[in-house]
Symmetry: D2
Subunit: 353 residues, 4 copies
């Protein structure tokens, strides 16, 4: 941590401040006199120090600069620069998420609506190269009057679809009280964008052992997102997948959110965790999904999460951003072309096509 002292501060105050820091926190300050300003470098274990508290120690402090990152366990340095992988056992075999693995396709409807629909959708997704089935049992909706998901019965339908298709299941949990119930069915537990800083929930999913897909909040910075992941890992669960799904900007005329694709190369240098992209929520419009899915491949995402619904016009939620199974199949073929060029496409599946 670095303290910048206002110009014109008497040296007696600078010394007093140094001594206070040293005595209160046991940290050795190093005073560096500049031509215009004095700076004080804090040497020692300053990661847990709150810069705001330092700021309050003296009115002569101009600013306090934190040069250490707040996150540790999710940082790339924590694994000595190596990527981690998240292994997810499914009936069809273990699916690996990570930068040294092929891209994992996750697909399915926004919400689970009926057993027949989810089973047939799952089979179509499997046939088109998907590895996991998404489908909401508990739905966070802006309006209390909108469809809130079928809850427990939807979890049962997901279990049936898992059995029928061999796909792994990913579904969202919204309430700490539902975590163990969801974990029984899900192969990956999703924490949604609106709950990215629901710290009670993060601690709870960190204390169980299913992998967690953590969506980025629509106005969360990269650092806040990584700190949310740190909550889960610090609670004992190292299997976290980050999922970018669009952020909020000043222009919401043509897209629901703005998909931040540069987050992928940025995160690569900061964290070892695998990274997924959700172009469906990221744009909110089905006609934009295939293009943005290809771009997500191009930036090196480890997984794509795509909404697929047998009849988007009749979907109980998020219809306009869903592909039909036919469209998903066509997209999968386009992705294969790009994925092969970039060496991120699964070889065996390619062979089967």
């Amino acid at each position: 941590m670095i303290i910048v002292i206002k110009s014109g501060t008497p040296s007696v105050e600078i010394n007093r401040l140094s001594q206070e820091i040293s005595s209160v926190w046991g940290i050795t300050p190093e005073i560096v006199p500049g031509k215009h300003k004095v700076i004080i470098g804090l040497i020692g274990d300053t990661a847990t120090l709150d810069p705001h508290r330092i700021q309050e120690l003296s009115p002569c402090i101009e600013q306090v600069l934190k040069i250490e990152k707040d996150y540790k366990r999710v940082s790339r340095e924590y694994r000595h620069g190596q990527a981690s992988e998240v292994a997810v056992p499914t009936p069809n075999g273990v699916v690996y998420f990570g930068e040294h693995h092929p891209v994992v396709l996750i697909a399915g409807p926004c919400a689970v609506e009926s057993e027949a629909a989810i089973v047939s959708t799952a089979k179509r997704i499997k046939a088109a190269g998907g590895s996991l089935l998404r489908g909401g049992a508990y739905k966070p909706r802006t309006s209390p009057y909108a469809f809130q998901g079928h809850g427990e019965s939807a979890l049962e339908m997901l279990a049936i679809a898992r059995e029928a298709s061999g796909l792994g299941i990913i579904t969202e949990v919204m309430d700490t009280a539902d975590v163990s119930r969801v974990a029984k069915v899900a192969d990956i537990i999703q924490v949604g964008a609106r709950n990215m800083q629901n710290f009670s929930l993060l601690k709870k999913v960190g204390a169980q052992d299913k992998p967690v897909l953590l969506k980025r909040g629509p106005s969360a910075t990269i650092d806040e997102w990584l700190m949310a992941a740190e909550y889960i890992v610090a609670a004992g669960n190292p299997n976290v997948i980050l999922c970018e799904r669009g952020i909020r900007t000043f222009d919401r005329q043509y897209t629901r959110n703005l998909l931040d694709l540069s987050a992928v190369p940025v995160l690569r240098s900061l964290t070892h965790l695998p990274i997924a992209i959700d172009p469906s929520h990221g744009t909110g419009k089905s006609q934009l999904v295939p293009t943005m899915a290809k771009a997500a491949m191009a930036v090196g995402a480890d997984s794509l999460m795509i909404e697929v619904h047998p009849n988007p016009a009749k979907a109980l939620s998020d219809g306009p951003q869903s592909l039909t199974p036919d469209q998903f199949e066509a997209l999968s073929k386009e992705l294969e072309m790009v994925g092969k060029v970039l060496n991120r496409w699964p070889q065996p599946v390619a062979a089967l096509v």
Copy 2:
């Protein structure tokens, strides 16, 4: 709801669409032929219709415009244009929040730290004209390694401070599992900014009977905020106070958030609910708090929520935005001057000064 048809659409398709809408939703469409474009007006109970689903009915639809608001119970129209008031019983008497009442001062530390500190702070706040004591027992923190609040023991300290000062208590709940525990001590339950769209929590606080102060999420639109309030009211609890505490913008160099003071006059025309302003979180800097508190009075806020800590430099959280009790007392006198001019200052307190 209004459907705008793409120019050049054959009338046979427009008729087909009209019939589909009529047969599926029982709504009468009215076709209005314009010079350039045809529009279809949907007449009937369209409030629960999802415009996205309409959009999917035909590729000839250019856009679907929703002209009804999604919220009902919190709308100004719901009370025929009249403001509502929230009455909060405290040991010192009932405190009223509402546009026809004097401004209510809420003050206290970010987090409850010790019994002695919270009791003495409460007494200072009472003496300076405050009506409620704020203090966090459960703290949402960006980092899992930061102080998370003293939890249940902090609730006990708040109960003691309530007894000692006569102030009502407001404190935050973060987890559905804690709602009843918090409701036992609190006179007002706070839902924090990060949980504004934690819908499980909103339903839960809507199902108990203590008033709820609902903070605006840092990137929530006015409409999303009102929908969050609608969740609480729809669950049975009409006593909601809205609290603006700063939104997120592109410039975060000098203030933690940007306090949206225009939200107050905007909300007045949309909702009957009382409105509070939190200039402490809204700026993140104690030296900006008094100025912005006066401005909050000027825009007609019904309540101000201000962080006060006996020794901000040693606060376990949010020290830099806290006033000392002396500063709060000085601010209260400044507010009185402005408040009297605007007829929003409590007469009896004025008499005691």
Copy 3:
């Protein structure tokens, strides 16, 4: 245009309003009575009507919805759904920008620094497959104390580099007084992001006949950007290329701007104009440029504009986002792989490799 009337408005006022509109603007209003609200559809040539002026006609108006777009000449409809192309004659032949042409590579330094450097850089760019040379003579800089470009002498150096390499030249104009001077040397005139709404400048570049590359302002909506293009086209110059270069968001920690790649598919449906992407300004970091350039290919950009400097560490401006000529050459080979899969790579160049 559609007028939504507040509920409870007496029909006498609605009739009065209709008659006023009819008499003042000669537009036929169509009254559509809904169950909750009355709407009035305005039939006729309403494109130039200002919704704000309608709003003021009566206090009973809840909102005025404009359903016509403000832009005409740049709209996709204006060319009956067909893309336009911009043809740029250069010493090496005509370069075409458009969705039915191969991707055009534009490269070069932020600012022109010396004749030797710009000539050698131009040759390297030519060898790596570039078609146009960028280089600033007049530089918009946040600080008055920063290097402002070499001005006229830089224009001369660009002319020499054009001669030596055969590349076309693109350079920015900032002042209406410099337009004719810049147009003498440039094959494409650039209007920078900060000047996107410098309407005097837009009119001026619209009144000369060199093609114009119009960068998106960092906080411009898609609609505002298209309106800025409309200024140029309305002034007589149909040869406009739109260039996305990153927008401003709440998170500026790791990227200078956020590259909005979804703008490409969005613009495709709105406008016939060609679209370029600038991943250098879009990220501000050279290490992110190759990845985002590939993604820009994947979303279907018609051109990429990339900063290349022989020695980025010594660049007088924007060094950190510049590639070296070697890095650009490597990137060009990566782009070729992706471009061939997507049928957007120039065949002859591919043959030469």
Copy 4:
């Protein structure tokens, strides 16, 4: 400036870097070894150093932190902590802008429309306590098809209104070619929000001697705004008034922009320049203007700029945000009440009422 070195960097590289900095820029680096990271403090005149160029010197650099501000002449320190004042001679006497002067009221229509209207409006404004008349001759409009102002003839009308009312004149300049023409009539030249970073224009208005009111760009940071002011002052004109007029955020449903009132206390600590607030553009709605104007008084603005039009419904631009002369008069009386409490209301005018 401070350089943070990546952990694990060999000391030989750190020494090499230090020597390069020392030899190239003549600056003495001070190496501060921390427990986790080494930092290098640069001592000497580093204000003009570009941190990006330092960054490129070595791959071992984690980040470069600039602790000096880029602006000098507009900084509060430049005047040893004292506020400056801007004196504007008008027919009615010298008007002073500054924190030790009463609030200056500027009012008038968005655009000058006719001689009769501007003269009568000016007289009403004078009678209600205004000191300067605003009115656009050259109007920046999003659409090329919207009214662009009456140009030179509007300047003549302003001159007549000045004569008739005694008010000073403030009007906008958009093109470097118009500066001297505008300066002949205007007592204050306005640089509009969209031109805040039109650096050619800033230099030009800095090279003439009328005071300049510089509006904040809708997505300009405080620092960028101050740098724009620095351009004017560095070009020789110290008489700059800053004017906040609302910034762009994610929520544009109910207000055109979000008025950043906290900018006033923030700027007080950074700059000596006077500060004005424009609540008309800041909200875009006339019904919000009075409330936000009072709040602007409360935060200590030195001037308010308010749109007044004799018949807002017929205004050629920005009607919906204009007050009528009657409304302005009523607002002036409300402002007087608040202004007197805060000691910012002109005594003589108060005496005349």
